[in-house]
Structure formats: structure tokens, C-alpha cells
């Protein structure tokens, strides 16, 4: 087998590395062994918790709350349309930009299989166990307490409970009818395949521009879809995603404008931009969010008009303007990296100032700072955790409510619940990070 050769040599290279770097002296050997022991112990504890001790049934039954909160079930179609549009665009783009189709199809297939075999058939029930406990008081008397302990469990079939939990988790968070779920998975595969077929026209700028435009349009479409429900119904991960997506999109636009404004030859514009950036960055996001919450009391009639705007919209505006101040500085760095010759060449061939920036300067400046921009977006996404502080029910707040409101079955299940909260933040951050990596490799073509 030709394929085994590099593997074998890679393995021996690793062994050699370990011998010469990790176990070459007594101290190093001791440190390495200690690290291995501690690492293995942590891994064991975590695995034991995840596989055996954790009560994932609690997470499974609350999955709807974690993802869309108390969104009215009759209006679920609004979220379904959003899911369908996003799935279609994402898979289309994945196929078009040359992602690995085979591993993608396998992942989607495994998810679909899990849902259809385990997730959608899974029942949950509450197990009741009577218990008695003897408590010895300080004075030496013993009292006996008895009661009923409730635990939410899967109606067990052949699979372990964590597998049921994953399957249910994949069945999307809002009591998904299996036909709709199957359609989403079918769309994910079909979209990627269609995207791959489109690669033959990949150099066609109209195709790329329309896909880019579709992504930008997706956000207002999803938001408009929600208007029938009322933004006070937005909760949990869904709220976080909307605030982040809308706030993030506008923060980019605002950031680019501020970065250009800062370098404007007109003193008034550049001073205004600098003042804005410095003022906004001088206070923590939390303070700005509190401003947006309480400003109405201080502004008289303006404040009254202001208070009619839903809080979710107000915090989104804060996210856009706060994020914009940071993106502006990142983009400014990109602009400074563009040599003067590029401006002169653009002038010399007769481009107008707008064309010069739109076609020559900004495309280069932005792609020079893609990693930093992605970093800002990831930070902005995680900042949605702060929404809890202004009485919006974000993922974190919802988790607290579950823990506080279901004490009979959720008593002490902090770990399970917060692992899921962490997972929500992690998944989106990871996707953003991957997106950034893909953008970097794509855009590196033609770098100096």
C-alpha cells in the first residue's frame, strides 16, 4: 500500500520527537509523565460525566427553550423559513467554494440517521423514587426526612442516553416534524451538490455577486419574517443570533465608513470620526447597553419616542455602533498597509475617488485584515451574553431560568445546562473561525 508509507514515517517522526524533546532528561520525563497523568485524569472525569453521570434528558426536553425560548408554536413557520433559507445558502456556498463534499455528506447523513432512528422516536418520562434520609443535628438528635425524588429520563431503548440526547438535539430545537427535518437535511446535501455544479461558472462575477448579495439580504429577510411575532418574543439563542447578525453586519458597514472618515482630508469629518471611535471605545459595552435601556427617562419627548422602540432593536443598534468603532480601527490598519502607489495608479488610470476606494483600496485593505475582523465578530458574538444584564432573555438567562424553574428535575444540573450554553457560543464562534480561515485561503490568491 502506497498510502501507509507516509503514515508510518509520520508515526516514527512523532516517536523520535517524543524521545528527543519530551523524555530526553529526567526533569522532562517527570514533567511529561505528570502532564499525561493529569490530562488522562481530566479526560476520564469529563468522559465519565458526559457518558454516564450527566442527565442529558433534562437538556433534551428543554432544547426548545435553549434555542428559541418561548416563541409561539403557531408562528414556528417563520423560523422554519429562516432555517430553510440559511441551509440552502450555506450548503450552496459550501459546495461552490470547494469544501470537501464527501465528509460533508457523511456528517449530514449521520445526523439525519440519528434523528430518524433515535431522536424522533424518543420518549421522556419522569422517574419517581421515594427516599428517606437521616439528618443528625448539632445537638445529637436525628430526624428522618422522606420524600420523592424526581428525575427526567429517556424511555430507554438500546442506545445510551447521551446518544439519544444528541439525536434529539439534532432534531432541531422546536419540536420538529420529521418531514420538515428530513427536508432540511435533503436541502443541505442538494444545495452543496448544486453549488459544486456551479463551480464551472465560478469566475462569473454575477454568480458570486448574487450569492454575496443573497447572504446580505438573508438577514433583513429573516428579521422581517419575525416582525409578525413581535420582538419581545425573541429569546435564547435565536435572540443572540439575530442581535449578532444584524449588529455585526451594520458594525462592518459603520466600521468601514468610520475608517474612511478618519482618513478624510476634510478635518471636520476626520475629527468627528476620531471622536466617535474614542468615545465609544472608552466605555464597556455593558455601559452602552444600560444607556440604551434607561435613556428614555432622561430625554423628555425624544426619550418617549425612543422608549417605543423595542429593547431588542435598541441593543442591536448598540451592538452595531459599538462593534463599528472597533472594526473601524481594524480596517484603518488595513488601509495603512496599502502602499501609496496603489492610490496613484488608480488616479492615473482615471478612476473616480469612489471607484478608487471601492475597486482598488478597500478590497485590498479588508482582505489584509480578515483575521482581525473575524476576531472582532467572534468577540461581538460572545458579547451577546451581556444581553442578560439588560433584562433580555438570552441563552445564558434562559439557562438560569431553566435551572431556577424546574427545581424538581433540574436540581443541581448546572453542569449539563452550562455545557449546553457553552456549546451554543462555541458552535457559532467555531463556524466564524472556519469561515475566516476559508476566506483567508480564498483571498490569498494574488497576494503580493
Amino acid at each position: 500500500m502506497i498510502g501507509t508509507m507516509p503514515n508510518a514515517s509520520a508515526l516514527s517522526r512523532r516517536a523520535a520527537y517524543a524521545r528527543t524533546r519530551l523524555f530526553n532528561t529526567r526533569t522532562n520525563t517527570a514533567l511529561s509523565l505528570a502532564a499525561i497523568v493529569v490530562g488522562a485524569a481530566l479526560a476520564f472525569l469529563l468522559a465519565r460525566f458526559i457518558l454516564f453521570d450527566a442527565n442529558w434528558a433534562l437538556v433534551a426536553i428543554n432544547r426548545k427553550l435553549f434555542f428559541v425560548g418561548s416563541y409561539p408554536p403557531d408562528e414556528a413557520f417563520r423560523i422554519w423559513i429562516a432555517v430553510f433559507l440559511t441551509a440552502l445558502l450555506a450548503s450552496l456556498s459550501y459546495g461552490l467554494w470547494g469544501g470537501n463534499l464527501r465528509s460533508y455528506a457523511i456528517a449530514v447523513g449521520v445526523a439525519a440517521l440519528l434523528i430518524l432512528t433515535l431522536g424522533l422516536g424518543t420518549e421522556l418520562r419522569i422517574e419517581e423514587r421515594p427516599y428517606t434520609e437521616q439528618i443528625r443535628s448539632a445537638s445529637g438528635e436525628t430526624t428522618t426526612i422522606s420524600g420523592i425524588e424526581r428525575e427526567l429520563v429517556f424511555d430507554r431503548g438500546w442506545a445510551p442516553s447521551w446518544l439519544y440526547a444528541i439525536s434529539l438535539g439534532l432534531a432541531l430545537p422546536f419540536g420538529a416534524p420529521w418531514l420538515l427535518m428530513a427536508a432540511v437535511f435533503a436541502l443541505l446535501v442538494a444545495g452543496a451538490m448544486a453549488g459544486r455544479r456551479l463551480t464551472r461558472w465560478k469566475t462569473n462575477p454575477i454568480l458570486l455577486q448574487s450569492i454575496g448579495a443573497a447572504w446580505v439580504l438573508l438577514i433583513p429577510i429573516v428579521v422581517l419574517l419575525q416582525t409578525g411575532v413581535g420582538v419581545d418574543k425573541w429569546e435564547s439563542a435565536f435572540l443572540d443570533l439575530l442581535v449578532f447578525a444584524v449588529g455585526g453586519l451594520f458594525s462592518f458597514v459603520i466600521g468601514v465608513l468610520l475608517a474612511l472618515g478618519r482618513r478624510s482630508p476634510y478635518r471636520a469629518i476626520s475629527i468627528a470620526s476620531i471622536t466617535y471611535i474614542e468615545v465609544v471605545r472608552a466605555a464597556p459595552l455593558l455601559v452602552w447597553l444600560l444607556f440604551a435601556t434607561f435613556l428614555e427617562d432622561e430625554l423628555g419627548p425624544v426619550g418617549e419616542a425612543f422608549s417605543n422602540i423595542s429593547l431588542a432593536y435598541r441593543v442591536t443598534v448598540v451592538f452595531a455602533f459599538f462593534g463599528g468603532a472597533y472594526i473601524a480601527e481594524v480596517v484603518r490598519g488595513g488601509l495603512q498597509s496599502i502602499p501609496r502607489g496603489q492610490y496613484e495608479a488608480a488616479d492615473a488610470i482615471g478612476l473616480s475617488p469612489v471607484q478608487k476606494y471601492a475597486l482598488i483600496i478597500l478590497p485590498q485593505a479588508v482582505r489584509a485584515v480578515v483575521p482581525a475582523i473575524i476576531g472582532r465578530f467572534i468577540a461581538l458574538w460572545k458579547d451577546t451574553a451581556l444581553l442578560a444584564a439588560v433584562s433580555l432573555v438570552n441563552t445564558l438567562e434562559k439557562a438560569k431560568k431553566v435551572l431556577g424553574g424546574q427545581t424538581d428535575i433540574a436540581d443541581g444540573a448546572f453542569f449539563e445546562i452550562y455545557i449546553i450554553v457553552g456549546l451554543v457560543y462555541w458552535v457559532v464562534s467555531y463556524l466564524l473561525s472556519r469561515l475566516g480561515g476559508a476566506a483567508e485561503t480564498r483571498l490569498r490568491v494574488g497576494a503580493r
Binding site: 496613484e344 495608479a345 488616479d347 492615473a348 488610470i349 478590497p363 483571498l443 497576494a447
Partner: protein, 250 residues
């Protein structure tokens, strides 16, 4: 003048340009007629590049008047657009757009400024690439090309707007020696085709053979103007003689 019958393309009258306390151009007078090839030589810092850059207003002049194709350059945006679209400029550092393919580099301005349809702009771009001899590089990015190839693309980009005047700002100074000739060959062909050219250059061979006239500049002033034959064999000014001695002895 023997070229009286021809149209005057560029005229500078007492043009002065200062950078702070430094006077880069000090009352320069020049007239260039259509079809003429003028080489501008002189020590570094003598104002050669600044001279070119005032003509297309990359550096607006402080005093004096500049006429291009009969129109005086003012800070009116229309005359600025005219000078920029009707002159081509080739830079020492090429200044190609690194994020665009060679073809897009050339087709961009005709498409965006002249509003040519994309296929037409790219067809013409391919013809220009053929003229500078690198059709096969059309889909590559500038960073994938050698310096000489990049400079030829830059010439094609400048030619794409059908300029009435081509300006070269030390086009071979950033090139490895073995690539200088491929660029000079393109420039010589261009000169032979009747293009009006202003070339700041250190290539005395090109100045002697391809140029009609040579301008020698020093300290922001024109020291001497002569036909290329006269200039090298019979320099009149002492400063010219010293400069030529310095660069021709080795």
C-alpha cells in the same frame, strides 16, 4: 522648430512645485509636440519624477501654467478627468493591482471609466497583452509574474485608455538587469509607432536611440535641452558634461 506643423501636446510655462521648503520644480518651461519622444535625465532629486507627476496632477503644481492638448489644467474636476484618462503613466514600482488578474488590471479602467462592455474591454486587453508579448499570462495575478512581465502589463494597462501621451517614471530602475531589455523593447516599439512619450530614465542607450530630444534637469531646473544626437556628443553646459562623464565612464 521643425515640428511646427504638428500639434502641441504638452506645454509647461514657469511651473513651480514646492514640498515645504524644498523646491522640486523651479520655473520649468517645456513644450512637447505630438509624436515626439522626450527623454528626461538628471541626478536623483533633480525633479524629473515631479515634472511627470505635475503633468497628470498626481502632484498639483503651485505656480505657472500647464496645458495639455490645448486645455489648461486647473483644479476643475473635468480637466482633471481629461488629463487622467488621456495620459498613461508607468511607474518605477509597476503599481499593478495585486488583487486583480492581469486581464482585469488592464480591462478595469476602460470598463469603469469609459463604460465599455466587459467582453469588449477584455478583448482589447488581450490585444494589448499580445502587443507587449505576454498573452499567456492573462489569468495570472501580478504577484505570479516576473518584474519585467509586470512592467509590461503596467504599460498595457496605461495603453488601455488610448492615451495621447505616455509617461514613464524610471520604468526599468526596479528591474533585474536581464529584464530591462524586454521593457525597453516594448517602449522602443511604442516610440516607433508614433506615441507621444515622456520618459524619465537612466537608460542612456534608450535616450540616445529612441528619443527625439533629451532634457537634462538638475535641482528643479532644466539645464539643457537638445536633440538626442547633439546632446550626448556636444553637451553645451558644464553641469551636463559632468553628469554625462559620471554615468558614461563605467
Amino acid at each position: 522648430m521643425t515640428t511646427d506643423s504638428k500639434r502641441e501636446m504638452v506645454r509647461l510655462e514657469k511651473v513651480t512645485k514646492r514640498f515645504g521648503d524644498f523646491t522640486a520644480l523651479n520655473g520649468v518651461d517645456i513644450s512637447v509636440t505630438e509624436g515626439e519622444v522626450v527623454a528626461i535625465i538628471g541626478p536623483s532629486g533633480s525633479g524629473k519624477s515631479t515634472l511627470l507627476r505635475t503633468i497628470n496632477q498626481l502632484e498639483p503644481h503651485d505656480e505657472g501654467r500647464i496645458f495639455f492638448d490645448g486645455v489648461e489644467l486647473t483644479d476643475d474636476s473635468r480637466t482633471l478627468a481629461k488629463i487622467r484618462t488621456e495620459t498613461g503613466m508607468v511607474f518605477q514600482q509597476f503599481n499593478l493591482f495585486p488583487h486583480l488578474t492581469v486581464l482585469r488590471n488592464i480591462a478595469l479602467a476602460p470598463q469603469k471609466v469609459r463604460h465599455l462592455p466587459e467582453h469588449e474591454a477584455e478583448e482589447r486587453a488581450l490585444q494589448l497583452l499580445d502587443r507587449v508579448g505576454i498573452t499567456e499570462q492573462a489569468e495570472k495575478y501580478p504577484g505570479q509574474l516576473s518584474g519585467g512581465q509586470q512592467q509590461r502589463v503596467a504599460i498595457a494597462r496605461a495603453l488601455a485608455m488610448d492615451p495621447k501621451l505616455m509617461m514613464f517614471d524610471e520604468p526599468t530602475s526596479a528591474l533585474d538587469p536581464e529584464m530591462i531589455n524586454e521593457v525597453l523593447k516594448v517602449m522602443t516599439e511604442l516610440a516607433a509607432s508614433g506615441m507621444t512619450m515622456l520618459c524619465v530614465t537612466h537608460e542612456m542607450g534608450f535616450a540616445r536611440n529612441a528619443a527625439n530630444r533629451v532634457i537634462f534637469m538638475d535641482e528643479g531646473e532644466i539645464v539643457e535641452i537638445g536633440t538626442s544626437a547633439d546632446f550626448f556628443t556636444n553637451p553645451r553646459e558644464q553641469r551636463t558634461k559632468t553628469f554625462l562623464d559620471q554615468i558614461l565612464t563605467h
